[in-house]
């Protein structure tokens, strides 16, 4: 069984009096433990596809299945447990809660889940990524790389089965970007987590198990790397 399947996904946005088709009949499948990169130029619809695959947005047509379960028509409350324990998110702009410290940001999904070991797990993860000494710092006190490492820890604390990463190195310099990507890949390999990553960076795409290329809302290529 595939970890994730998308069948004939289409999405159109209306801005003012213009309709813009962002995705047009997109179908794909991601195996368990696979590292999939969705690449394309700016405006190709890759971020939108990621939002729909992860349940953050809804498609106009098509279905999304997670481990065989159709999540297309689930409401927000039904999607919440999936987001909490099945998915992990890493965003280009980090999206850390400004009023929480690094430790609290990482702990948050575990606390939501009622995990009594949330603190211990969070401390271990922060230590793993070299942020032990920044545990009590607020996001505005962290560098870009530190913020993204913190976000990765948050994404992993509940041992999700899929990680969705949208341009995780987009706001980082090349050194930090490389470090963050390596970390992400390392953790993906360690935990056998399925990783769906959106990027326009060819170097990152080269490290994936498979690359799906989007152009004008359509998949124009799907190449597996040996």
């Amino acid at each position: 069984m595939n970890m994730l399947e998308a069948h004939s996904i289409s999405k159109t946005y209306t801005i003012g009096n213009r309709s813009i088709t962002v995705l047009d009949d997109v179908s794909l499948a991601v195996a368990q433990g696979e590292f999939l990169v969705v690449e394309g130029e700016s405006g190709s619809g890759k971020s939108t596809l990621l939002s729909i695959l992860s349940g953050l947005d809804t498609s106009d047509q098509g279905r999304v299945l997670i481990e065989g379960r159709d999540i297309t028509n689930l409401n927000e409350d039904e999607l919440a447990p999936l987001r909490n324990t099945t998915f992990g998110f890493v965003f280009q702009s980090f999206y850390l809660v400004p009023s929480l410290t690094s430790l609290e940001n990482v702990m948050f999904p575990a606390e939501l889940h009622g995990d009594i070991r949330a603190r211990e797990k969070a401390e271990n993860l922060l230590s793993r990524v070299g942020l032990s000494e920044r545990a009590s710092s607020f996001p505005y006190q962290l560098s870009g790389g530190e913020k993204q490492r913190c976000a990765i820890c948050r994404a992993l604390i509940n041992d999700p089965r899929i990680i969705f990463a949208d341009e995780p190195t987009g706001n980082l310099d090349s050194v930090n970007g490389k470090a963050v990507l390596n970390l992400l890949l390392e953790l993906h390999r360690e935990r056998r987590t399925t990783l769906v990553l959106v990027t326009h960076n060819q170097e990152i795409a080269g490290k994936a198990d498979r690359v799906v290329t989007l152009r004008d809302g359509r998949i124009i290529a799907s190449i597996a790397h040996a």
């Binding site: 927000e76 919440a80 809660v97 948050r154």
Partner: protein, 871 residues
């Protein structure tokens, strides 16, 4: 050059904050214009014309009959045609309906002649009053304590006494006639043309009085008004030595220029300390004093609300400009000067302020429709409440200045926005900058000047500003303390922890919200608790064994017959009227005494004599009521007197007892062991001193409610000179007035709560982006909608609870001080009502906060993320 499109778009881009700013201006305009309009209406309708309020140029007043010297002086002036005069006698008496007037008799008798109970029936014709002999008078069906006003022709010299028939008062009030208030007809089930027994006379009701010029409101009256012509005074048989009558002579001067000279001449001829001679310019009308005090108090509430509305204006503008920060940064990055930017945003403020002003004035006119219902019973029904141009003009000027001064600081601080704010970098601005202090100080000075302008008394203004300052400072300190404790609290529960963190969200304005709400709630809570204590002391706490019927002006010769008629065991207290002339040989300053708040030594006192303490008295100083080793006249004083003047045993007080000076030495000080409604006397003399003085008797009994009317009828039939006061009825009147007054004050205080709520709404919108961000992040991480809802609810609960609890403590402290030290009544905290108010206010804050946050809670993650990515 102004960019009108930019101004318009900036207003529409920040709609929420614009609306809040407009509403704050509306609130300030309503406060200024409505209260100002009401105040001017009351003044112009019945307080402005002092002549009408006193119905004369010169007013001579005494509690005993006018002295011969003063009368002679008046006669001389009248003969010279320098003045006209009219005598007025006012007193309370029980009037009675008449089933069967019986045989007609007339009694010719001069006022002041000693009365007896024996009357000899005489035949007469049918004009004039009808007297009924005791043998033949029937006991009327119903009786009612009424306010009798006997007037001579000429009254009123100024103003018009309006009658229901529209006829002239002087044509209607002739011999044998009465003019009464409608409420008397209603309560005794009478109509015009029916007969009414007043004292010993039976008179005919000829008309109904609608408006008295010198008594524009009557809510403090113990009974309805009854006008009697002075030619019927002898037949009433109610005015005699010792009777409780207010003697007034109204004087109209022919030549206004002679007013002061004539007043001085009459004053010189009067007996000081017994007779007061004043002109309409200097006389103190009780009604005017009441309304001046009441409007003064409402004015204070209005200024307080204005201050909070001003804080709301500042808060919402600050939030508005915060939303515009990136735009301002871009404008600066492309070369705009601060002056250009400030001018533009000043125009935004001007547009929003103008919209708020127009709506506020319109709302004030609408509110004027409600005010008559709110003030019903307190102002004459024919008073037209309108908003004058003057009130609108004053409101516009002050409102404009309020907007200017409260928006000065946020506008001025636009200078500090740097172009790199484009990048969204938060920069901590120093609160210590010179411009901040300068602008802040100017606003404080403006506020003080505005208070001075509205109140017009330096001392009261200073006290008020200090009081407000103390209230806000205390609220600030308490809120700061609570927030510091909360910040340290490491809650285990995730929802609680998030809610606590939310209080310190950047831009959350938690502190100003708590301070504003606390201050306004403290005022509201205080009014409620003080009112409850007043109710408890004077209305609800009527002891079951306390007397409820008081009989006054019983003649000593009537005592035995009265006691038989009463048929209830009772103590009869002798009452002799007297005033205080001097203490320790130092004459008292009557004018200064009269201006004191509370009781004073310048009034007339009811003196008595006995040799022993009452059941509910005990001695505080002294071995006995009087000392056997002192040969001189002695007097025992109640400890309440010591609050008016410091006295000790051995001091002397010189009394004027019906024209005879009596110097007495203070022999003891008494106190009451219970503050129940039992008779008590400030001054008690030994028997031998006053036993033979002209006196009346007073007694008080407890009667079952259904027995009151028959007993009253029986007594007044046989003893028409006796006034009967149903204390429960009096208490009901007092409670009604108090209830109305406090409702009005609470109504206007609610406006200050509205100001607090507007600040909450402004704060929610100011932090909208951050709240959405948090809500979306929580959702992405797996939190359900109810988690986000619970966090926001708890955050508002904490704000509401903190504000209410601090307000509760401040209100309890303030109320205790007011009750114990200002009103001198027992104090109870009324925890039940206080808790209910805390719950109500906290619920309101939660509802408002959540209401403003609903759209935020419903925000979908994808839409927000998309916006963030696009930026």
């Amino acid at each position: 050059m102004l960019n009108i499109h930019l101004i318009r778009r900036q207003i529409t881009a920040s709609t929420h904050q614009s609306v809040v700013l407009v509403l704050c201006v509306v609130l300030s305009m309503i406060t200024l214009v409505s209260l100002g309009g009401f105040s001017r209406s009351v003044h112009s309708s019945f307080l402005r014309d002092a002549r009408v309020l006193h119905a004369a140029d010169i007013i001579i007043h005494s509690h005993s009959s006018i002295s011969p010297g003063l009368l002679d002086s008046m006669t001389a002036l009248e003969q010279r045609k320098a003045i006209e005069s009219a005598r007025v006698y006012e007193f309370y008496s029980v009037v009675q309906t008449v089933k069967n007037p019986g045989r007609s008799v007339r009694r010719g008798k001069k006022a002041g002649e000693t009365r007896t109970n024996k009357r000899e029936p005489q035949l007469t014709d049918e004009t004039g009053p009808v007297m009924s002999s005791n043998a033949e008078s029937s006991e009327g069906e119903e009786s009612l304590l009424s306010s009798i006003k006997v007037v001579e022709p000429g009254y009123p010299f100024y103003g018009t006494l309006e009658l229901a028939s529209g006829r002239l008062f002087r044509e209607v009030l002739t011999r044998g006639s009465l003019v009464v208030e409608q409420s008397l007809l209603d309560r005794l089930h009478l109509k015009v043309g029916d007969k009414l027994r007043v004292g010993s006379a039976v008179l005919t009701i000829r008309d109904v009085v609608l408006q008295e010029p010198d008594r524009p409101v009557n809510f403090f009256a113990l009974g309805p008004r009854v006008f009697v012509s002075s030619v019927d005074l002898p037949s009433l048989d109610l005015v005699g030595k010792g009777s409780r009558v207010d003697y007034t002579i109204l004087v109209k001067v022919r030549d206004e220029k002679e007013l002061q000279r004539i007043a001085n001449q009459l004053r010189d001829a009067s007996i000081k300390d017994r007779e007061r001679v004043e002109t309409y310019r200097t006389a103190d009308s009780g009604v005017k004093r009441f309304f001046d005090n009441f409007l003064f108090f409402l004015n204070l509430i209005g200024i307080f609300t204005l201050l909070l509305a001003g804080i709301g204006i500042q808060s919402s503008l600050t939030a508005f400009l915060k939303e515009q920060e990136r735009t301002i940064a871009i404008m600066k990055a492309v070369g705009s000067r601060s002056r250009f930017i400030i001018t533009h945003y000043f125009m935004v403020v001007a547009v929003l302020g103008s919209i708020g002003t127009i709506i506020g004035i319109a709302a004030s006119f609408l509110l004027e429709k409600i005010l008559p219902d709110l003030f019903r019973g307190l102002i004459p029904p024919n008073v037209e409440l309108t908003i004058s141009k003057g009130a609108v003009a004053e409101g516009l000027i002050i409102g404009f200045l309020v907007v200017i001064f409260f928006t000065a600081l946020p506008l001025f601080r636009l200078k500090e926005v740097k172009p790199h704010a484009i990048f969204g970098k938060e920069e901590q601005r120093s609160a210590q900058s010179r411009s901040t202090w300068l602008t802040g100080s100017t606003s404080v000075i403006f506020f003080i000047l505005m208070v001075l302008w509205r109140i017009r008394e330096l001392k009261s203004s200073i006290y008020f500003v200090l009081g407000i300052g103390l209230l806000i400072l205390t609220s600030f300190i308490c809120s700061e303390g609570i927030l510091r404790l909360v910040k340290k609290w490491n809650a285990r529960n995730l929802i609680l922890r998030q809610a606590l963190k939310g209080l310190f969200r950047p831009g959350n304005a938690t502190r100003p919200i708590i301070v504003t709400l606390t201050a306004s709630l403290a005022v509201l809570f205080s009014i409620t608790v003080v009112e409850e204590n007043l109710n408890a002391t004077f209305v609800r706490s009527y002891p079951p064994d306390a007397p409820n019927l008081f009989f006054i002006d019983i003649q000593p010769s009537q005592k035995d017959a009265f006691a038989r008629d009463l048929a209830i065991p009772a103590i009869y207290y002798p009452v002799i009227r007297g005033t205080i002339m001097a203490v320790n040989n130092e004459p008292i300053d009557r004018e200064a005494e009269r201006h004191k708040r509370g009781d004073n030594l310048a009034r007339e006192f009811n003196l008595t004599y006995r040799e022993n303490l009452l059941e509910d008295e005990r001695l505080v100083v002294g071995q006995g009521l009087f000392r056997e080793d002192w040969p001189e006249v002695q007097v025992s004083v109640l400890d309440t007197v010591l609050k008016m003047k410091e006295l000790k045993v051995g001091d002397t007080i010189t009394f004027d007892i019906q024209g005879i000076p009596i110097k007495a030495r203070v022999s003891s000080v008494r106190t009451r062991t219970r503050s129940a409604l039992q008779p008590f006397f400030y001054f008690v003399f030994p028997d031998r001193v006053l036993k033979d003085a002209p006196q009346t008797l007073f007694t008080a009994v407890r009667v079952e409610k259904k027995q009151i009317a028959p007993l009253q009828n029986r007594i007044v039939s046989h003893f028409p000179n006796v006034s009967i006061i149903d204390v429960t009825e009096t208490v009901r009147v007092f409670a009604r007035v108090m209830d109305r007054l406090s409702s009005i004050v609470r109504f206007f205080t609610l406006f200050s709560i509205v100001a607090g709520i507007l600040i909450i709404i402004s704060s929610v919108f100011a932090t909208r982006h951050t709240r959405i961000q948090e809500a979306v992040y929580f959702t992405i991480l797996g939190a359900r909608g109810r988690f986000v809802l619970a966090v926001f609810t708890l955050e508002n609960l904490l704000i509401g609870l903190a504000s209410s609890l601090i307000a509760f403590v401040l209100a309890q402290t303030g109320s205790w001080l007011i009750c114990r030290h200002a009103l001198d009544i027992l104090y109870k905290p009324f925890l039940g009502i206080s808790i209910l108010m805390i719950i109500a206010m906290t619920t309101l804050v939660i509802a408002v906060g959540l209401g403003a946050s609903l759209a935020i809670i419903r925000q979908r993650p994808a839409a927000f993320l998309r916006e963030q990515t696009e930026e």
